[in-house]
Subunit: 358 residues, 2 copies
């Protein structure tokens, strides 16, 4: 397999604090399992870069990143410096779209040692995956304002779902469900209210489902689905959703497992025509930045998902992934823990503890 070339983009805020811990644990795991990584450290795709250059990234960003096998990403956004929609559409959302990372894969899992905000739920009760469409849908760049500044003013933004874009994410989700023990898939929708695009999305799901007779699937409207994440989180196995609904569900799911400080995500280009991107679900969190109190586990887990994807879910990369996961699990159980989990450890103490266990 040779050497993997990894673009390392810390970004803004706590992104710059959790990234060193991700690398620390990667170093430990690659040393142990004999995997060779080469890092390309990137200081753009940050609001500081924007303040100096008037754009989030250099013009040749795509060429630079295309040379890499994967991107390890911290978090972008610092609204006091740059409005969020400019910083995000100028970096992360551009990567997702231009590198065709059409799957955003995010787990919701309740670990031992992590108190759930839900009453009476214990480790093992919550364990499901959210498969989010990641390139189109509600996150469109089509629309605009008319009659600006008058009483008649309105703004239009289009949601655009392609057959190809919908089918491929649905297939990915059905495939994943098929590989799991429960073989259950929930399709998030809102076809009772969003009456043009969502019934069409339901049809796509119904068509794709015919190829998976062994998968038990149903569709649930996003409103009641969110309610059920709280009321019956044990019922879910794999949940597939459009871009916006997946965004919502993949913050809510992890919240139900105690903290969004644990949740990793994989922005996958399954066809491997461009690098995939791995990042924590939490953002740059300016309010707690600079204090070394951020939980680095989401970042570390994201790094593990990266190894697993690079190794095609097998080989020594899979072993390294599993070893990191096991180290995360035992650290959650035994400590040290950051403040969001009721502990008082610093970001790097948790990173070191996990690296040692690996």
């Amino acid at each position: 397999a040779g050497t993997y070339r990894i673009a390392v983009i810390p970004g803004d805020g706590i992104g710059t604090e959790v990234m060193p811990e991700g690398l620390r644990v990667l170093d430990a795991a690659t040393r142990r399992f004999g995997i060779s990584l080469e890092y390309e450290h990137i200081d753009w795709a940050s609001c500081d870069y924007y303040e100096k250059h008037g754009q989030m990234m250099p013009d040749d960003w795509k060429a630079q990143l295309s040379r890499c096998d994967a991107i390890l990403f911290g978090a972008v956004g610092w609204p006091e410096k740059v409005p969020d929609h400019i910083s995000l559409w100028g970096s992360l959302l551009k990567f997702r779209r231009e590198f065709d990372q059409y799957i955003n894969l995010r787990p919701a899992r309740l670990f031992e040692g992590v108190p759930s905000p839900l009453a009476g739920r214990k480790a093992g009760d919550i364990d499901f995956w959210i498969v989010r469409e990641n390139t189109e849908g509600e996150y469109s760049s089509v629309g605009g304002v008319m009659f600006a500044g008058t009483d008649k003013e309105f703004v239009v933004q289009e949601s655009i779902f392609t057959r190809r874009g919908s089918e491929r994410v649905l297939k990915f989700a059905f495939d994943l469900a098929q590989q799991r023990a429960k073989k259950k898939l929930t399709v998030a929708t809102k076809s009772n209210g969003i009456a043009i695009s969502m019934p069409w999305w339901d049809e796509r799901a119904t068509e794709i489902a015919t190829a998976y007779p062994d998968v038990k699937w149903d569709k649930q409207h996003i409103d009641i689905l969110c309610a059920r994440f709280v009321l019956n989180p044990d019922r879910f196995d794999v949940v597939v959703a459009t871009n916006l609904f997946g965004d919502i569900l993949s913050d809510l799911g992890p919240a139900c497992t105690g903290t969004i400080g644990l949740a990793p995500s994989a922005n996958l280009n399954p066809d491997r025509t461009f690098p995939s991107l791995f990042e924590p679900v939490h953002g740059s969190a300016p309010d707690i930045a600079g204090k070394q109190i951020a939980n680095p586990i989401a970042m570390i887990w994201s790094a593990a998902m990266m190894l697993d994807f690079l190794g095609h879910h097998g080989g020594k990369e899979r072993e390294a992934h599993d070893a990191i996961l096991a180290a995360i699990e035992s650290t959650l159980k035994e400590g040290p823990r950051t403040g969001d989990l009721g502990g008082s450890a610093k970001t790097d103490e948790v990173g070191k503890a996990i690296a040692e266990r690996v």
Copy 2:
């Protein structure tokens, strides 16, 4: 004030089971406080009607309902008979839009006697209002499919926000927050991802806010906002949201207070140019229909909100509203309770218990 004329639309499924309990409690309250209601019982706006007539309502539905002072509504929808988007756009969503019921007001409140799915939350900890825009936004009727049946197929649905529509719901929410003790308002947004319409919505909020210097307000992205409903529900006071985000939050909020079987809603035309509509948040629930196990409290509370709106939040109508609320509270504390609250009472037993207490 004379006599209020009320259109009574049970609709489908458990709508037909909870409606009699709403009327039972209304009868008790109006008798006690000397309020005169005249009911117009309506058997259309149901899927059974659709099966017979090929449409959800007679052609003169608008004239018929416009003669009424308010609409008391059960629930519509029975997907095995009629697809949801047809039954809903043929009734409820038509009312909201054509009667310009631009506010959908929904409480999230944790009562004594109701176990919360959230760990360690007790009565009083959760008590906030969701103000949902109810006529435009993501629930548009503009869009369509192109290249159907080919590889190039896509569907477009537009979200359309007008200045007038956005300003009036934001004003309503700021007004409501201003009247409350905490004077706090949270504006739901997603301006980091939905980069055309949502930054525009944020601007409207920022403008309106200048007229309310005493209201503490902030904006929160819908993904993290949903997470915070679970993690910190005690922090909210009034939450204002677009049509879709309000839909999601007003199922999630009540779920955090134990059951969506309690949550009422008021679809208000505050200008009173057309009747307003009052309905439970829960839907027709075909899975439990016909068993007399549905919780009637959301329906009964909706009826109370109707009285309060009819009386302009004062007079004997306000007293009747308060008496119903008190009867709901003591019934939740002392029983009887339906299955969703861990009891085994039938729908009508709960209705009778509340009526007696009134």
